[in-house]
């Protein structure tokens, strides 16, 4: 499909997969500040799918769309290094505290303004694991959705998509416009391209530029801009954003303190291991 416009939905997330010993505070709670912020893994799979379509057809553009704080521009640069054409950062205090539904409302308005033919995102983000934003954006746009995609290609005007389900594989055919969410089993994203890193390493949002030194701007290295949109740019109703726009509320957060049991402490000595095995055999836990 020549000339189509693709928007890739991406999120910057704390790397919850690598919560090491240093990430836990003395009281057993997580020290979020030491967790690195990364490009959500399945959103990278989604970007790869978009870049493959861009390679295969003429005049395809790929725009990254992310919502988050100013620092989330980092993942837009990461996407540019890998082959995206441009990026939009949705950032505004009014978005803070949004649940998946309020987030989807804002993203859908931004997608509407970008007017793509195809939206591709990761199945879910590793900080919440909800897998809700893709389908909710699709519903807000009034478009069909295809979730858990592993592979896709065009046949005529239709996208043929292989979906990975819990118990098998399903292939569907879907017309555009469409929202697709991509599974982690899809091909990994390509690496950064050195030429693109040179081209985009000084790409900045307006807010980032203001925060950086004037010398830096004087050096003229800021030729590439990352678009930054707030509530007004997408014409959002503030009532439908943030806490007021979120049907779900967090009633209570409990830090996890595991209930201690009387445990028998053993060493790896032969005597200890053998006595354990005998005890388990005697009480018929094993054998």
């Amino acid at each position: 499909m020549n000339g189509i416009k693709i928007v890739v939905l991406a999120k910057q997330v704390p790397d919850t997969r690598n919560v090491g010993p240093d990430a836990m505070k003395a009281d057993g709670t997580v020290n979020r500040s030491v967790l690195p912020a990364i490009f959500n893994p399945e959103d990278l799979n989604a970007l790869e799918q978009a870049l493959r379509i861009k390679e295969r057809y003429e005049g395809v553009t790929v725009t990254l769309l992310t919502m988050g704080p100013v620092r989330a521009a980092e993942i837009i640069r990461e996407g540019l290094y890998r082959g995206a054409d441009d990026g939009v950062l949705l950032t505004d205090r009014a978005f803070a505290g949004s649940d998946t539904l309020a987030t989807s409302y804002a993203l859908a308005l931004a997608v509407h303004r970008l007017a793509p033919d195809l939206v591709i995102g990761g199945r879910q983000a590793i900080d919440g694991d909800t897998a809700q934003v893709g389908p909710q954006v699709a519903e807000k746009l009034g478009w069909p959705q295809v979730t858990y995609a592993e592979e896709m290609h065009f046949e005529g005007e239709k996208l043929i998509i292989r979906r990975r389900l819990e118990r098998g594989v399903e292939t569907v055919s879907a017309p555009l416009p469409l929202v697709v969410t991509v599974n982690g089993t899809a091909p990994a994203c390509r690496y950064r391209n050195a030429r693109l890193v040179m081209k985009y390493k000084y790409a900045r949002t307006d807010t980032e530029l203001q925060a950086e030194s004037s010398d830096y701007i004087a050096a003229g290295r800021s030729s590439v801009r990352i678009t930054e949109w707030g509530v007004d740019a997408i014409g959002a109703d503030p009532e439908q954003l943030g806490l007021s726009g979120s049907p779900t509320k967090v009633k209570e957060i409990e830090n996890v303190i595991l209930q201690a049991k009387e445990s028998k402490r053993l060493t790896s000595s032969n005597a200890d291991v053998e006595s354990l095995v005998r005890e388990l055999l005697e009480n018929h836990t094993i054998g």
């Binding site: 919850t16 389908p135 055919s173 209570e252 790896s268 032969n270 291991v273 005998r278 054998g287």
Partner: protein
Amino acid sequence: MNNLFVFCELDEGRPADVSLELLTRGRSLANTLGCRLEAVVLGSGLDGIENELFPYGADVVHVADDPVLEHYRTLPYTSVITGLFRQEQPGVALMGATSTGRDLGPRVSSALHSGLTADCTSLEIGDHYVKKTDTTYKNLLYQIRPAFGGNIIATIINPDHRPQMATVREGVMKREIVNRNHRGELKKIDVASFIRPEDLAVEIIERHMEARKVDIKSAQIIVSGGYGMGSKENFALLYELASVLGGEVAASRAAVDAGYAGHERQVGQTGVTVRPKLYIACGISGQIQHTAGMNQSGKIIAINNDPMAPINSIADYVINGDVAEVIPKLIKYYKANAR
């Protein structure tokens, strides 16, 4: 009005385990709320399906039986469910956190502007007081789930929007027949009145469903490995121990993410919940996201070289040592002592 609805998914024409588990939990929640338990089934050729749901305590079974609903597709299913929910105004709606439920749930919640909480590990009924407006919300659904990689447990509520929606993974709730002879009311859904032609835009070309290959849920003994196993090669030790003991191999999410084992072996909030007689946790630190899926095990042995690992506090036996050294010893002494 304001009853508790369970979306009942089918697995090869029979109600899926997770749906029966949700009916069981739904029955007791409905009793607390003093409302009816209503099941919803969509599919094709469903004659008599209601008889498989009534014994779990369903007061009403809504059946949408139509060839276009034979296999799950997002849009026709969404149109039927949202149409029905607009008519019936459920107070609570539950679905399995399956490929289907996780595709359908968010679409329906967005269409109805109601909140949805994914992958709950517990559902309770309780009140909520808002100081600012001095309002007490009675009998809300507490949707309880680990969050942030399992380091916190969050209780989520939807005070102002209905239905209060939640998805729950298979195996998290118990499944129990209330009364084999219980019969309720069967209501046929007028499918044609809900489905629009554009709902059929996405077509299924091919489906290949596989029988479940690995079944850690029904294993009596589970040998489970975490990121601390260090490599896929070290996982071979676990298979050896499991085969000697007659058990299955499972893994933590970190081990699955690292590629040491397939997702079908993952135990925890985003994997499978297991209750074996014996759970041997090897090189697993014990994030709540993992322990939520195994803390009901009969006996737990933790093998790791971190005396402070959270898993140790729920283990019956803690072996402080290197897994690569301890596991071969367990195999050796088992073989030496077992008859």
